[in-house]
């Protein structure tokens, strides 16, 4: 029974989805718009989030029985608070768009709920098979959301492209999992971690780990598995794109972090090349390619799709940036809190941006080109200001949350990298500077150009405006007073950790070796600012046992 209470947020979300679906059946055909359905789902999501806040910081004790596949610790709860909030904002900002595009039906909102339930299981899972099924639930619901506009050929095209790459990714993930299970007899991440770090494994496990990582690479759109992203993001209904960019990405990243850290994949790779090198190489590639391709996009939606790729690149440094407590065999490595903070603020800013773009499509003509934005500042100064705020946050200007997120991440690169990652910091900085160029282009269009010909109209929706203003306040408040969230994300991140095993080749930075500064071995405790941890905080890690 207690186990069910632990699942309360997920159950609330699922129930919300079913209630909305059923309520829609009893709506009379003449009833106007589905705004009340949107509000109902948003309230359900908010309730789930509130329940998760009450449960903070979660239990440290391992759960037995059928619930043992999930671990409701601080890391899980962080995402159980964040993801429902993202989904709630997403359905609220969608209201006006839905009315115009004939999407204001129960299915639209309940798919958000079901996708959210899948994500919540996915981020909580400490067993690969449950994680996989959560991921599939999320993916199928999102495929349906993307294709839901029946008049839109682009929606169908986006959905089929997303579907094919998504199913390919899950097939690879599945096969990797099967090999893990077959060779070790377990899919629990901590037990896998024990096997992998003990080195009792055959080379098949390399293949398994490779397949799992490639599967996740597709999901988070890391280069070179990013090719589906621009089409899927551009063709999807705009609010759904926001949901994909914010929530799906956050959930996939959370699951990836958990798999990598708790199953101790870095230990597996320690023998041939270091996992850190691989992570750094993919991160650099991802941020650079994403930024370069974003430069020349005329469609703001497509541009934001590429920008989301580059943000995934910044986030991937989190796999390399591993704060460490202690030294030698006794040391404990944990996820970097800056990454979780970045995920939260990126999600908020992205939602805001897509929420404003969703307001542009009057009468279902969804045009989000730079041309279409011209003169928006004179027509709808409020929307223009909100979009500008979102873009500034994505670009990392103070005083927005995006600035602090980038600052924290780069600071961690310097501190945790102990000076060895200087070149990575430079690459990230240069990327951030270049990205300013394309983030400013829509603002130039909005404020400095006039609309040519007939002035296009924007959608009026008080509900959407309310949600957008809330999100904008969030972006500003988190930028000005980030302390609380930083503390929370640090605490959450530390619960996912592993004990350093013997085989780990720590100092190597092969991918960046040509650039690497002189290695400083003099600072054994050099963990930096965030190292003031109480030991034994990792409950689903090997180190906790």
């Amino acid at each position: 029974m207690n186990d069910l209470f632990l699942l309360a947020p997920v159950l609330i979300v699922t129930l919300t989805g079913i209630i909305v679906l059923v309520m829609d059946l009893f709506r009379s055909p003449e009833a106007s718009g589905g705004t009340h359905l949107a509000w109902l789902s948003a309230l359900g999501f908010a309730a789930a989030s509130a329940a998760a806040i009450r449960m903070w910081p979660g239990s440290q004790a391992p759960v037995e029985g059928w619930m043992s596949a999930l671990s409701v610790n601080a890391f899980t709860l962080f995402f159980w608070i964040l993801l429902p909030l993202i989904a709630a904002f997403s359905v609220l900002t969608a209201t006006g768009f839905d009315r115009e595009n004939n999407l204001d039906h129960g299915e639209f909102y309940s798919f958000h709920a079901f996708a959210l339930a899948g994500m919540m299981v996915m981020v909580a899972a400490v067993e690969l098979f449950s994680l996989f099924l959560g991921l599939e639930t999320m993916a199928l619901a999102v495929y349906a959301l993307v294709a839901m506009r029946r008049t839109s050929a682009r929606g169908a095209e986006a959905s089929i492209k997303y579907f094919i790459t998504g199913s390919l990714a899950s097939a690879l993930l599945l096969y990797g999992m099967v090999l893990f299970w077959g060779e070790t007899g377990t899919l629990r991440l901590d037990e896998l971690g024990r096997v992998l770090s003990a080195g009792q494994c055959g080379p098949i496990l390399y293949a398994a780990a490779g397949l799992v990582l490639v599967g996740f690479g597709f999901k988070i759109a890391a280069v070179p598995f990013h090719l589906w992203t621009p089409d899927a993001y551009q063709g999807a209904p705009t609010p759904v794109t926001g949901f994909m960019a914010a929530a799906v990405k956050a959930a996939s990243f959370a699951a990836l972090l958990r798999v990598v850290f708790v199953a101790m994949l870095p230990e597996l790779f320690a023998r041939s090349f270091t996992f850190v090198d691989l992570a750094i190489a993919v991160a650099v590639l991802t941020m650079t390619v994403g930024n370069l391709l974003a430069m020349h996009q005329e469609d703001v939606k497509r541009m934001l799709a590429y920008s989301s790729i580059s943000h995934a690149g910044y986030l991937l440094t989190g796999l390399a940036l591993v704060p460490q407590l202690g030294s030698g065999d006794a040391s404990l490595r944990f996820v970097n809190g800056a990454v979780l903070f970045y995920l939260a603020t990126y999600g908020l800013a992205t939602l805001l941006a897509f929420g404003v773009l969703a307001r542009l499509g009057r009468g279902g003509d969804e045009s989000t080109t730079l041309e279409r934005l011209a003169g928006l500042a004179t027509r709808r100064p409020g929307l223009a200001a909100l979009l500008s705020l979102a873009l500034l946050s994505l670009a990392g200007f103070p005083p927005t949350a995006g600035f602090f997120a980038k600052f924290a991440l780069l600071r961690e690169l310097v501190v945790v990298g102990r000076g060895k990652l200087t070149i990575l910091v430079v690459i990230a900085l240069v990327n951030a500077l270049f990205s300013v160029y394309y983030y400013l282009r829509p603002m130039v269009a909005m404020y400095m150009r006039k609309a040519e010909g007939e002035e296009p109209e924007e959608i009026v929706s008080p509900t959407s405006s309310f949600a957008l203003i809330l999100a904008a306040l969030g972006v500003l408040v988190l930028g000005l007073f980030p302390g609380r969230l930083v503390g929370v994300s640090d605490q959450a991140a530390r619960t996912v950790s592993y004990k350093v095993a013997r085989g780990l080749n720590d100092g190597s930075l092969g991918a960046l070796a040509p650039f690497a500064a002189v290695q400083s071995e003099t600072d054994p405790k050099g963990v930096g600012a965030s190292a003031a941890v109480q030991t034994g905080s990792g409950d689903d890690a090997v180190g906790g046992r």
Binding site: L140, A147, E157, S167, L174, Y175, V178, W181, G182, G235
Partner: protein
């Protein structure tokens, strides 16, 4: 004496079927055939699961294979619905000719 075929044969066959599916997904352009190639990949995984289950003496593998079947059904349902939607809009199932998004 039952099942004297070593595990490695089952694994090789499973991986062969998985690879054939992957190849089909890469070289075929017809959406329905691509969906079938995906089914092949899932079946390859299933065979490995069942073979491992036998050789570990652990039924959990069979249960997971059962879930994979349900998943395959769900994916096929959504995938075929998408195929119908695509055909309605484009009058073709050739992925190379389905392109309204600028890239």
């Amino acid at each position: 004496m039952m099942s004297a075929t070593p595990l490695s044969w089952y694994l090789l066959l499973s991986f062969a079927i998985f690879s054939i599916g992957l190849l089909g997904l890469l070289i075929r352009r017809n959406l329905v055939v691509m969906l079938m190639a995906m089914e092949l990949m899932l079946n390859g995984a299933n065979l490995a699961l069942v073979a491992y289950a036998r050789f570990r003496g652990d039924e959990a593998g069979q249960v997971m294979a059962f879930f994979v079947m349900a998943l395959a059904a769900a994916e096929a349902a959504i995938g075929l619905a998408l195929v119908l939607a695509i055909y309605k809009h484009f009058k073709t199932l050739d992925v190379d000719r389905i392109s309204r998004l600028n890239g």
